[in-house]
């Protein structure tokens, strides 16, 4: 794994806009950053990223089985008891999942370590799937990278195939939703809508604020059309706690991601996995805050709220001293403490975190985000990657 400085395409903004990439710059800060790229060997990709990603997914499935049978675990994850049966049913009936992203610490040496699992509402998808793919093609075409370079990225075709298989009979009618006012979320959902249409589905967008409840208990979109299948870029823990939460169980709606993903997108997962497989090469030691075993963690550790996104409320501590933190609204439900990764890639004062994509639980893509701090936040930059020939 190397960080390679490359001259950006002179017209890079026009080039990525040509693909419909509307959020390459966020709040006047560069988000899409092609002034450098990450180079991997095929062995690093297959041995250190792809294989561990699928191994962790398998471990997660074993964890779900265990958690659904344990009130103690469900309580420790702060899942409201009113939804335990709802989540159990979604798992036991085999509701399929579309996608997720494991965030990994990796510097090219030794095993990658799981930082967290964005199992429910991952973004950075369109730029991973399409924009960096096109960047690589152009880089090879103009001779900036050697011909025969490759990329860990079959996201696009996997997403289309996964959409077709999420529900039977297929094709089916699919609604997609996210909050109003976020270009990044809307861009991600627009891209997924495109994939769904290419899978032959009848795909319709509606903002989450527009969703209504019909008198027969089903949800409906802004045009009063009943919702049977809903892709929601909106976290389960919020759906559970909002006014329509109590209507979920009777809505006859198949959700993507399915309710059982609520167990994986929770940072409590990190403590639970370590409990199941202490010493697993791809896991960092982690415990719920208050667990006496926290004393066994290394002096440099990270405190993460059970529910947190984009690094919010995450604190990096060394011997009780705060080294880096990000403010945010999370934390009411509790925290986990995790050893700070010692294999975070850093160069020139920047830290890189790998995002390893799963589509239908298969590892099939990679993204790299870089930040000036060791906590990857919503200010991080997306850098493309390639596999050296």
């Amino acid at each position: 794994m190397r960080r390679v400085t490359l001259p950006p395409r002179p017209d890079w903004a026009a080039q990525v806009e040509r693909l419909g990439f509307a959020f390459h710059t966020i709040d006047d800060e560069t988000y899409w950053d092609e002034s450098a790229a990450f180079a991997f060997t095929l062995e690093e990709i297959e041995r250190d990223i792809e294989a561990p990603t699928e191994a962790i997914e398998e471990l997660c499935f074993a964890f779900i089985e265990k958690a659904l049978a344990s009130e103690e675990i469900l309580t420790s994850l702060a899942i409201p008891a009113a939804y335990w049966d709802y989540i159990r049913r979604s798992w036991q009936s085999g509701e399929r999942n579309l996608y997720g992203r494991l965030d990994l610490a990796y510097d090219g040496h030794g095993p990658a370590k799981l930082l967290e699992y964005n199992a429910d509402t991952p973004t950075a998808l369109f730029e991973s799937s399409v924009v960096q793919w096109d960047w690589l093609e152009q880089a090879m075409a103009r001779g900036a990278l050697p011909p025969g370079s490759d990329q860990f990225n079959s996201l696009h075709e996997r997403l289309i195939a996964a959409f077709a298989g999420l529900r039977t009979p297929s094709p089916y009618r699919l609604h997609l939703t996210c909050v109003e006012g976020s270009a990044e979320d809307k861009g991600t959902v627009d891209y997924l809508t495109d994939c769904a249409v290419q899978a032959g589905l009848d795909a319709r967008f509606t903002y989450i604020e527009e969703i209504g409840l019909l008198t027969d208990g089903r949800f409906c979109d802004g045009a009063n059309q009943p919702i049977e299948t809903l892709f929601k870029l909106y976290p389960w823990e919020w759906l559970f706690r909002e006014r329509y939460g109590e209507a979920l169980a009777g809505s006859r709606c198949q959700f993507i991601e399915p309710p059982w993903k609520a167990l994986l997108s929770n940072k409590g997962l990190l403590a639970c996995l370590w409990e199941m497989e202490p010493g697993h090469p791809n896991l960092l030691p982690a415990f719920f805050e208050g667990d006496p075993r926290c004393a066994t963690l290394s002096a440099r550790r990270v405190r993460k709220p059970l529910y947190s996104r984009e690094g919010a409320n995450v604190t990096l501590m060394e011997r009780g001293r705060v080294l880096d933190s990000d403010d945010g609204p999370y934390g009411a439900e509790g925290y986990v403490l995790q050893d700070a990764a010692t294999n975070l890639f850093s160069a020139d004062g920047n830290y890189a975190v790998l995002g390893s994509w799963l589509v239908a639980s298969q590892a099939c893509g990679l993204c790299v985000r870089e930040d000036a701090s060791p906590i990857t936040k919503n200010t991080s930059r997306f850098l493309p990657h390639y596999i050296e020939p």
Partner: protein
């Protein structure tokens, strides 16, 4: 190969087409579109007389304005097999794209009905299951782009999924969404709205990661 072989083509195709493809349904719902005279009569929005007038206007405009070809193959290369018919204009024999439908502005009395032609590769929406579109795409392996305004993350609210595509005599595209004519089942009514989204509003925080 660890990357998709087709993704770039599919995705670029998506966006290039989207740049001049009408993405918002408002653009099409302002018009009435019928595939044939009998569709128009069956639709019930216009009288039989209005339908016949519109149909004959569209037929005449098509002969006047549609691209003309000297042979059938040239015409079908653009408009697909069975997408053309022969016509005698001023004593000479031509091939002209078929009349796939006609369109007239809703509420604009006296406006001329416009002819709609079969879709060309450039006017088919991405992923369209419409047979003419699959044909058109196969017939034309490379299409040029016009660089435009389509993007992921814009505020237009709905896509042109499941729409039916046509082209116009000037090479423009028209998408017709079938949902505009389909209503909600009459047995259910909306009892409330807005029960989701409150936490995102109150926290002004990130709902994604």
């Amino acid at each position: 190969m660890k990357r998709s072989t087709q993704i770039g083509l599919a995705a670029v195709g998506v966006v290039l087409v989207a740049s001049f493809w009408p993405r918002s349904s408002e653009e099409t719902q302002e018009s009435l579109v019928y595939n044939s005279l009998s569709d128009c009569r069956a639709g019930g929005q216009l009288s039989a007389q209005q339908c016949e007038t519109a149909f004959s206007e569209a037929t005449a405009t098509r002969l006047k304005d549609a691209p003309k070809f000297n042979n059938q193959n040239e015409c079908e290369a653009q408009y697909g097999a069975n997408g053309c018919s022969s016509a005698s204009i001023g004593g000479a024999q031509y091939f002209v794209p078929a009349l796939a439908g006609f369109m007239l502005a809703r509420g604009l009395a006296g406006s001329q009905a416009q002819p709609l032609l079969p879709p060309t590769a450039a006017t088919c929406p991405p992923g369209s299951a419409q047979p003419e579109c699959q044909q058109a795409r196969a017939a034309s392996s490379s299409s040029s782009s016009s660089g435009g305004s389509g993007s992921y993350g814009s505020n237009s609210s709905s896509s042109s999924s499941r729409s039916r595509a046509y082209s116009t005599t000037t090479g423009g595209s028209v998408a017709v969404s079938p949902t505009s004519t389909r209503g909600v089942s009459t047995t259910t009514r909306v009892s409330s709205r807005g029960g989701f989204g409150s936490i995102a509003r109150s926290f002004s925080s990130h709902s994604s990661s």
